[in-house]
Symmetry: C2
Subunit: 203 residues, 2 copies
């Protein structure tokens, strides 16, 4: 059922907000009315932050992560191990891995995964530039850290074929039961894999 907005300006703003992912028209209206209640300077700052980001955003020339500089802080950090590259789908995944504090190498952000259903082919993601990085011979290990989905598996397979000719170790992040998971509630595929890929018990 269509809503009747008391103002065309309001309706326009609501329809712009509702283009955002996961924001319906009802939430959009709530957000817009919140904006209306705030100071003009606040709203200015909100809009400026988006426009500035949009116009001045850079992507690291090496790993394609978002960066304020041509080469991102991670890629230019000499203390990090440049011989190990962790391949991830997107920027959020870099942040997720960084948060674990378990990885000290560099990243490679694909900017998507191969998904024919969504019209994303191998040419749409940053695989060629990954191959370029490997072809220098300085990289010893590539860790594939993609989602454990059909698309992730397809992309892993595609990358592995592309890197076959190089002398580089390929690994995939472990799949198994989550820490804290109860066995009886774990799905059988995950449980099956976690048995196949069992690791030596450490005391």
């Amino acid at each position: 059922m269509s809503e009747t907005y008391p103002s065309a300006l309001l309706e326009k703003a609501v329809s712009e907000f509702s283009k955002l992912p996961g924001i319906g028209r009802k939430s959009a209206l709530r957000l817009v009315l919140n904006m209306l209640r705030r100071d003009v300077s606040d709203v200015d700052e909100f809009c400026n932050s988006i426009m500035t980001l949009k116009h001045e955003v850079k992507y690291c020339k090496v790993c394609h992560n978002i960066s304020d500089t041509d080469v991102c802080p991670i890629c230019s950090d000499r203390r990090r191990d440049a011989s190990t590259i962790c391949v991830v789908e997107n920027i959020q995944d870099v942040m997720a891995v960084e948060k674990t504090q378990q990885f000290n190498g560099l990243y490679h952000v694909l900017g998507g995964i191969i998904s024919p259903m969504d019209g994303i082919g191998p040419g749409d993601i940053e695989v060629d530039s990954l191959v370029d990085r490997i072809s220098t011979g300085d990289v010893r290990e590539v860790i594939l850290a993609l989602s454990s989905t059909m698309e992730g598996d397809t992309t892993n397979f595609y990358i592995s074929r592309k890197l076959m000719q190089y002398d580089v170790k390929l690994s995939v992040i472990a799949r198994g039961i989550s820490v804290g998971d109860e066995l009886e509630y774990t799905d059988e595929v995950t449980l099956g894999r976690s048995i196949l890929n069992r690791t030596p018990f450490k005391q």
Copy 2:
């Protein structure tokens, strides 16, 4: 645990988005990255719609609803019954009542309800202008359509005292079980009220 954003511009935009009600930092990041993926013209339009609304928004001089004109379309509609005023808390409530297509009178938007806990007193809501509208003598009925909460009840009581001296009928929207509700899941206060306020059965 604090996140490390790869870019200060990104962090600024995320922190602006997460000021919106109901948007956490994780959702904010998702929204900002969505913005980044869109065309510059799209992002321009998004920002323009908010800024235009913020700078050009008007409130109806009569009912205080948002309006593109000095007097809103509802207040200036001669076909509507100007002798009945429905008092609501906010703009969303006008839209909600309009959607029912059961009301053909005018509105009065209070812009809030009395809530001492939130520091909102009688002086912060549009009661005086309601009294002005009633004092002309043209209004026969005021329908109080506020939320069925302590704050709504307090506001209803305050308005009723303010209007006591005028010859105007005061009514409150019915409270009872929702259409479609099952009796056994209705809370006892609502069910109790719906029995006290029972209406003649119509076939």
